[in-house]
Amino acid sequence: MSNNNKALLLIGSPKGENSTSASLGNHLTSRLEELGMKIEKGFIHRLVNREETIQDLIRKVDSADLIILSFPLYVDSLPAPVIKAMELIKEERNKFESKKSQNFIAISNNGFPEASQNIIALQICRIFSRDCGFVWKGGIVVGGGGAINGIPLQERGGMVRNVIKGLDIAAHALKDGKDIPQEAIDLISKKFIPYTFYRVFGNLGWRLQARKYGVKKKIKDTPYSLTI
């Protein structure tokens, strides 16, 4: 039986602890901690640019039994620093054959209401897991990330009850070294806000923010147009 004592949460958002990626990852790791796992955390954007922090990233990955990568969807894929981290981890793992079995999962959230738009990013994570010799334990997709907006899930209340329930189910399975159950994946990806409502209030939100900065009338500016 493999050891499954130590989980590493890698947060792939430039917003760090204030991100939706952190809200989701923190909820999962808090449950894993209650179940007896030790938790380590790393913020990818701070780890990939300097040699000493890259070594810290590699060390964190090597010592984990379960690696959790939580990130926002950027232009249909993972943010560039997260891809860089994956390139570095793969390069390191090419140098030796890992002796221990390590589990890997990914959590992708996006600013569009449809969770399904994260699927390509999850496929990339699954191939990364394969190429690094990790054991893929499943992927979680969350739509409507703007409605969570970096707030801890418990404080978000009933709107995200299915996300919370699904992550709780996932934690129990992962602690036992099992795949994330389909039931958990389905619950977490379930629509928690009507799409039309999200679009209408999202658009209102952008206008209000532009007004706050005094650029409401300039919000559709085209500074790179060849005609100006």
């Binding site: 950027y74 249909d76 449809e114 919000i219 085209t222």
Partner: protein, 191 residues
């Protein structure tokens, strides 16, 4: 007609130079004014996800580095070539760093397109995309993921035409260039 070749080669990918030279030659032969940018040689900071390019300085990223200029060139090109080693089915971090900084060139507002939510376009005129992924050996899963990624990019970036082409290093280079030439003809016919 302007073509912009975004070369996302990583530090050990110097063997891609021949392929890129052939692509540039073909584009020029067809009358394109071509610019190639070796992305590993320019300074582009990571997108901070602040959305200030939408609500504070509309249309422009607050980070004053080469990323702004690349975004400008992307908007002003008729054709963008995404050239990259295929990394786990996606783009290299070098190519992705400039694609992440493309978001000032679309609007924050949501709209429904192809049954999904996407952002509205900021510019009426948009670039077609040809994505070329280089892979060591054939890998169905990675190639399918790469092609699907390019399709999704075309939806979000509003490319009038998009094509994805995979070059595996075991393949004859002349065959690949011939394939690219055919794709280029299709893109030119529709652009």
């Amino acid at each position: 007609m302007k073509a912009l070749l975004l070369n996302g080669s990583l530090k050990n990918d110097n063997d891609f130079n021949m392929i890129c030279s052939s692509i540039v030659e073909l584009l020029e032969r067809d009358g394109f004014e071509v610019e190639q940018i070796m992305l590993k040689d320019i300074e582009v900071a990571a997108c901070q996800g602040c959305f200030e390019c939408w609500v504070k300085t509309p249309g422009q990223c607050k980070i004053d580095d080469d990323g702004r200029e690349v975004a400008r060139k992307m908007v002003q090109s008729n054709l963008i070539i995404h050239f990259s080693p295929i990394i786990f089915g996606g783009y290299s971090s070098e190519l992705k760093k400039v694609l992440d900084r493309f978001i000032p060139t679309i609007l924050p507002f949501f709209t429904k397109r192809n049954g999904e939510t996407h952002h509205k376009y900021r510019y009426k005129s948009r670039s077609s995309i040809i994505a070329i992924g280089v892979i060591d050996k054939p890998d169905e899963e990675e190639e399918a993921t790469f092609k699907e990624l390019v399709y999704r990019n075309s939806l979000n970036m509003g490319a009038p035409v998009h094509e994805a082409l995979v070059y595996n290093k075991t393949q004859n280079e002349e065959d690949f260039i011939s394939g690219f030439s055919n794709i280029l003809k299709r893109v030119e016919a529709k652009t």
